[in-house]
Subunit: 405 residues, 2 copies
Amino acid sequence: MSLIVHKYGGSSVADADRIKNVARRVIRAREQGNQVVVVVSAMGRTTDELIELARQVAEKPDARELDHLLSTGEVVSCTLLTMALRSMGQKAISLTGAQAGIRTDSTYSRARITGISPKRISRELEKGRIVVVAGFQGVNDELDITTLGRGGSDTTAVALAISLAADRCEIYTDVEGVFTTDPRLVPQARKLEEIGYEEMLEMASVGARVLHPRAVELGWAYGMPILVASSFNDDPGTLIHRGVPMEITNKVSGIAHDSDVAKVTVIGVPDRPGIASAIFEPLARANISVDTIVQNAGINRITDLTFTVAKSDLSKAMGVIKPVAESIGARDCASDTTLGKVSIVGAGMQTAPGYAARMFKTLSEEGINIELITTSEIRITCIIDGAKVPQAARALHRAFELETR
Amino acid sequence: MSLIVHKYGGSSVADADRIKNVARRVIRAREQGNQVVVVVSAMGRTTDELIELARQVAEKPDARELDHLLSTGEVVSCTLLTMALRSMGQKAISLTGAQAGIRTDSTYSRARITGISPKRISRELEKGRIVVVAGFQGVNDELDITTLGRGGSDTTAVALAISLAADRCEIYTDVEGVFTTDPRLVPQARKLEEIGYEEMLEMASVGARVLHPRAVELGWAYGMPILVASSFNDDPGTLIHRGVPMEITNKVSGIAHDSDVAKVTVIGVPDRPGIASAIFEPLARANISVDTIVQNAGINRITDLTFTVAKSDLSKAMGVIKPVAESIGARDCASDTTLGKVSIVGAGMQTAPGYAARMFKTLSEEGINIELITTSEIRITCIIDGAKVPQAARALHRAFELETR
């Protein structure tokens, strides 16, 4: 008998009919002879509505209280799904994150899972029950409730799959899988049957928005196969796993993009040791996630340092950076919010240098200027004019022949 | 420093403005130098909405899952109140029933509190914090969440007050206290400054609907003073306690009424031992609460047995009773849903028999026929035509001079 973990997102459990639909899918998996653990997100816009309620009573809601409040959203959806399963004649039980043994640190609103004691889940599975777990939440050493941050239910599902030594983790959502690029921008985008963890990570973190990167990282670390598929039809979806064949990994597998990019440049920075940490440590302390970092070649030991952040973090970042720039003797600070990001992703690209050249040539032929370039082992990213991101994605999708495979 | 427990019902925390209003009341109690524990119900109609959601996914929602679902309502209101308190500069923390140490049995939907370990609450109070506890819920030995049934938040508040050795339990609600009778029926109804537990119990269980009888019983057993007052103004309310003076307890203190009465008569019952238990045991097993029971004097060892139940339980009760009546050789079963109940309540009535006579005379003068009469030590109840309950309450209120004291 196989053990599989299903995860259903908020839009898949948005109302009573959709919950019953999810129940039927879970029952099908059970009737195929599997043990099934199900992780659910809060219904539809519940989390946003609870945040709005919190804002009505307090300008800056306390983090512990907010986590405690938000955790109720997943308890509602997991108990409703369990009721639906039971009324369809199945043995089933709901568990909160705490009851499911999910322990976290105390970083409210973005807690990290520190360990899982799956004893209660295993006991319920042995009784022949389907176990429905509230996603997105855990409990710290004080037994206070924490949440894992947006997308945390994906992480819950993969972490449970690992701790239960499940055969597979299946993430059901409102998209049909991982595409070669965003189908809303490029109609020729093609669904991938399979993809490696690392490529998926590059696709997700640069904007493909199918599966939370933390969940992919966790799956990668433990080699847990993750299927991403639609909860609304029976199409096969995309399997993220280790065993992706060489001939596929050796090519560009997708085009990722992101329009949520703001650029900050610290101008006239003295080029001496300790300068980078003087700039980036305060940003880290302010919990601002810095993406691309480029330091231009300097003359006379004076350099420009450029980095990108999410647009929503820009004003906070400028508030942190301006006094820092002054204190290290930089000339000025500038920012730009009209930018976007486009990337080609594919394992083994670094050993085949033709890819970078083809990318730059394609953008140049489209008349698109490249502001910044960064690369990883399996990704080349160009920061360009934000308005030209769709055009760039279409041109690159065509240039790397992604529609024809 | 005094320790007091406040409890606020659903209508007192129905929206953000009301929650902020409650926060200000709690802060006032704190600033008067008290340690404060606050118990809250779910916001407004939350519980009903969650039950409706449950019915949409399952015809008969599982009891464990339903309790787990409903418990989220109080978690939402207690975290919101805590956020409001903190944003007003107070130290405060929210706790679920489980975190507050409220242990119950496993009777889902109407669990009984088996004990309270108030260690966590005491620790938080010592840190100078206001502690806000989710009412209506607890946790069983399996750490599964249970609910105490409707009105359970009152019980939570009184039980916490007892276990913390609080000085007083204050129940804030949408009524201003305990009245001599229902002010909606009798405009002359007068608010009582104080009342004994036993009288309060008779007033509550026969329909005064101010405070859940379980909470009164619990307060009585441990001598915990309970104040019932409005959460919308600063009027003094009614104090329920032991020290009510003799001269007041020796009179009729109020008129209670109830329109939710259905009568069942088992006709032609053989009058032999074991018949009563043959009838009432199956009703108890079906969890139907039987109120008044009257067995008419029989001739030839044949008798009629009459009892009342809540109207909502009638069809279930008839389903249980019909086969029982047949098996014990009764002639027939009949039911009547057009009835109501009116009672006079007052300590020491039994030792002053004039009260019963005055009650019957008053009803007779109003042309109201009495169907059934039952009495307790401190209460006389008449079952009458349901349509005449308001008229009866007004007449009795006048006859016992309740408006003039």
